[in-house]
Structures are given as C-alpha cells and as structure tokens.
Symmetry: C2
Subunit: 295 residues, 2 copies
C-alpha cells in the first residue's frame, strides 16, 4: 500500500516508523494537530503510533475531565510535554482577578498531569487600547505574580513569543529576545520559553537567541510556514516540509543549546483538521524523521 502524506496527498518519501522506532524517542503530538480527537483518543493514537509524548489542551482536558485525563495519561505511560495554555494577561484591572484565577487553574491542571510546562500565550492589546508598552508591562507584572503560585506546584511557566502577526490580538511578546528578557528574571525551573518554529523562524537574530536560551527552553514546537498565506491567519500553519522553514538548521541550533527534551508537532490547519487524525499522525511521524529529527 502506498502511504500518502496529509494534507498534500503525495506519496510518502519515508515509510511510517513502527512503534518502538528509536527515532521517535523525542516526538510529541500536540493535541491541536489532531483537533477532532478527545484526550483519550489522542493518548491512544500516540500509543498506537509509538509516539511517547503528548501536549494537551485545556479545552479538551475540560471536556474529558481532568481526573480521567490524568488516569488516561498515567495508564498510557506517555509523557505530557506541555499543557496549552495559560496567559491572556493583558486585560484591564477589572479583568485581573478573573485572568489570574483562570491561570491558577491552568497551573493546577499542569501540576496534576505532571506536565513539562504550562505554555503561556500572554495576550494581545485589550479591547480599544493602543498602548502596546502598557500591555507588555502588565504581562511582566502578572507573570511575576503567577510565578509564586506555579513554583509552589513545581510547574514551569513557558513564555511563548508569538509571531508579530498576532501582536494585536494574541500575544504582545513578539520575539524570543523579549521572552528571554522576561524569563531570565526568574530561576529557570520557574520560567522558561517556548520556541515554536512558526513564530520565530524569520528572526535574523535566531542563532544568538537560541544559544542564549540554553537552559531555558521549556518546549520546542514545530510546524511549517506555508504560502500563499491561508485566509484564516489562526489556521495558517503547515506540515513540516510543506513550507519554507529550514528545520535541519533549526534543530541543530536547538541541539547546540543543549535541549534534549520533547519536540512537539503543533499544527493549526483546516485541511489537516479535516483529515483522518491517524493519517495525520502517520504523516507527521514521517515528516518529523525526514525534516526535523536532530542529526
């Protein structure tokens, strides 16, 4: 049988790796890549494909239940590379307590699941505001406040720089430099950074910034930058190899920075979400080996 890649429909260049293949030892499925799967289905999908780690999303955790999610993960033997996501900390003072309380719940969930980190998407400009420096200051203050709660529960907060495309509406931390400037105020076990190829691949200072991130890389997430840019900016990510990112160089930089943790495949893409999730998982395992796996 010819294996076809999702979503391109092209014949696969590599055979799908079998469970136990040592090349999969660091691969993690971020659950959003297989959007239709529940926590249980995603866990079972990873086990079936020999993927040893998973990144879980709070919406799906809530749907399936936190306790049941913890039990499913424990039974499976999977690692939880991350919980996505906390953050959205830029709101006005009136929103402060609601946002902090939601983030404390996110920290509790990450702790219960034994997750490697809680990914923080810090939030964009508040409704009607054009005060970008002000929003950035609020992020700093609120991360500092949350760090106390997270440290008591041994949860590492992972600041995710978001592509400048999302500065207005999702994340005012736009570069790895900014994320590091913030993270470095805290012990590394308390605050790290997420390096997502989609968000930072364009940065001309990437080599020096990834080197600087040594010891601070809480999560490494991969997907491709594709063109033409899809109509829905939130679903504009591609399968590795379908776009413009040089994953080989990227993985080398991450490796040189000493990171040996999981590599999460996180793809927001309408075509991939429409595909059969197990086919998506087979494709991403092949593409991971072909493009991403550190040499």
């Amino acid at each position: 049988m010819i294996e076809l890649d999702v979503p391109s429909g092209r014949p696969a260049r590599f055979a799908t790796p079998a469970p136990g293949d040592p090349r999969l030892a660091r691969l993690s499925l971020n659950q959003r890549t297989t959007q239709r799967w529940s926590v249980l289905e995603a866990v079972e999908g990873c086990v079936a494909a020999g993927i040893p780690s998973i990144g879980l999303w709070r919406e799906q955790i809530a749907e399936y239940g936190l306790d049941r999610s913890c039990r499913a993960v424990a039974r499976s033997g999977l690692r939880v590379s991350s919980v996505c996501r906390g953050g959205f900390l830029t709101g006005p003072a009136a929103d402060h307590e609601r946002a902090m309380s939601d983030n404390r719940r996110a920290i509790d969930e990450a702790a219960a699941l034994g997750a490697g980190c809680l990914v923080m998407v810090v939030g964009g400009l508040p409704e009607g505001s054009r005060d970008l420096p002000g929003a950035r200051r609020r992020v700093e203050e609120r991360i500092a406040e949350l760090t106390v709660y997270a440290a008591e529960r041994n949860v590492q907060l992972a600041i995710e720089p978001m592509h400048p495309l999302f500065c207005a509406d999702r994340g005012v931390i736009s570069t790895l430099r900014q994320a590091l400037d913030l993270a470095e105020r805290f012990p590394s076990e308390q605050v790290g950074v997420v390096i997502d190829t989609f968000h930072v691949w364009w940065d001309p200072d990437l080599p020096e910034l990834i080197a600087r991130a040594a010891g601070r890389i809480a999560a490494f997430q991969v997907c491709d930058w594709i063109t033409p840019f899809p109509a829905d900016a939130l679903l504009s990510r591609g399968m590795m190899g379908d776009g413009h990112i040089d994953f080989g160089s990227f993985s080398s930089l991450i490796q040189l920075a000493g990171y040996r943790g999981d590599i999460e495949v996180e793809i927001f893409n309408a075509e991939i979400w429409a595909a059969e999730p197990s086919s998506t998982v087979a494709t991403l395992a092949r593409r991971y080996i072909e493009h991403v796996l550190p040499a």
Copy 2:
C-alpha cells in the same frame, strides 16, 4: 452634508481640510491607496484635495508613460515622495541580470521623476529554497551593486523592512534593525530606510531603532493594523484610526529622530480600493490630522 469615513461609513470626526490647510503640508498620497486612479488622476486628486506630495508606483507609471507622468507631476507642483518599488533581489544567479536590469530601470524612473527615494522591497525566499541567511546575504551584495548606479543618478535607495509575515514571499529584511545594519554601510544620501507603521509597529525595540535611524529615514509611510486579520494578507492594511497602532507615539518618535519629510499614506485594502478614490482621499486627510500629524 455629513461627511462619512471610508471604509467605515461612520460620520467623520473632523471636517475635511481645505486645500492650503497648513496641517496638510507634509501629507503624501501613496498612489496604491487610490488603486483605481491613473498617475494623472492621482496627481489631480492630490491637487484638488490640497495634498502637496505623492508616492508613485511603477505599474501605474508604465501604464501612463514615464514622460507623461513626469510632465503631469511637474505641471502640478507636487513633490514625489517616493517611487515604489525596486527590489526582489533574492533570486538565484540565473535571475541576477534580469533583476538588476529591472532595478536600474526603477532607478532611472525615480531620477526622472525627481523622487525623494526609490523604495526597495528586497524579495523573499527564492522558489524552492529554505536558505534564509543565504537570501539575506544576496540582498546585501545586490544592494551594494545597485548603490553605485543609484548614486550616479542621485537616487536614494530606501530599504523597507517588511513585516515578518512577508518574510517567505516578499521581504527577507524583517526588522528596522536589519534595514539599518544594511543601510549604514553606505553614505546616508545613498541608502536610507523606509519606516512603515504596518511593518514595524510590533517591534519592542522601536524607540531605540527609530532614534538610531536619525538621518536615514528616507520615507515614513502610515496605515493601520486591523483585526480580525483580513483573508488576503496582501490587502490587510487599514485606514489610520481603524486599528491598533498608536500613531501619536509613532509620529513623536519619528519627529524626535529629526525627520521632517513627507508622511505617505499607503493602504492596501480591498474595501478602500472599492470606494470612490476622492472619498478615500478626504477620509485619509481627516484621519491624518486626527491621528498621525506630529504634535
């Protein structure tokens, strides 16, 4: 009569300034904002609205004819704040001579029109390439080569950092820092930078970078960043005041850097292009005074 803003259809907050209004003294219409107008129509539209400067596009110059464009501009007394655009310099060696020849023609046109500068959109990754550092190196080499030709004709090349959104397909110079690093290798009368609010508003280092750009700002272009992000990324720009950019702070930084040149309104937006160009011009003149005009 109630004046309505384009494209929002809301009543205008300011009366349309009359020709001769000193607040318009630095306003320039970038021709792409009134996409449907020919060079002649755009020139006449500026004169009618009391806008003393215009940024012209090569496609429209070619349609109307270079000589006729020069005569129309000369008769009108308008300044030509910029010609858009040269660049697209990242292609493979086989494309080198075609690209350079096209850029030399662009320089000739800018010289003939007495333009303040030639805007350079440097180009994205070549087809099939993922070598971003290589593409950036080619830009440097080819700008150096073009500078000789441009200097002989007294045309300033203006490097435009493009929003990282366009790194793959339009411009591998992604930050003002990169543009300055490149421009500063040359005398400032030969190579400057374009600061376009849309491309750089998100940059956390903006204040220090604009200060560093003092004496190098060849053009200042304005439009807004709007959300939700439009389906066509190339047409995703908004009328000033309809989005998230703090133009007041921006103009102050530019003013502090000593820039006293024209301020071009350049908006790529399907709704604005569908509107009656003279209404668009009236709106942008009002919005310029309301939001952009340096204090």
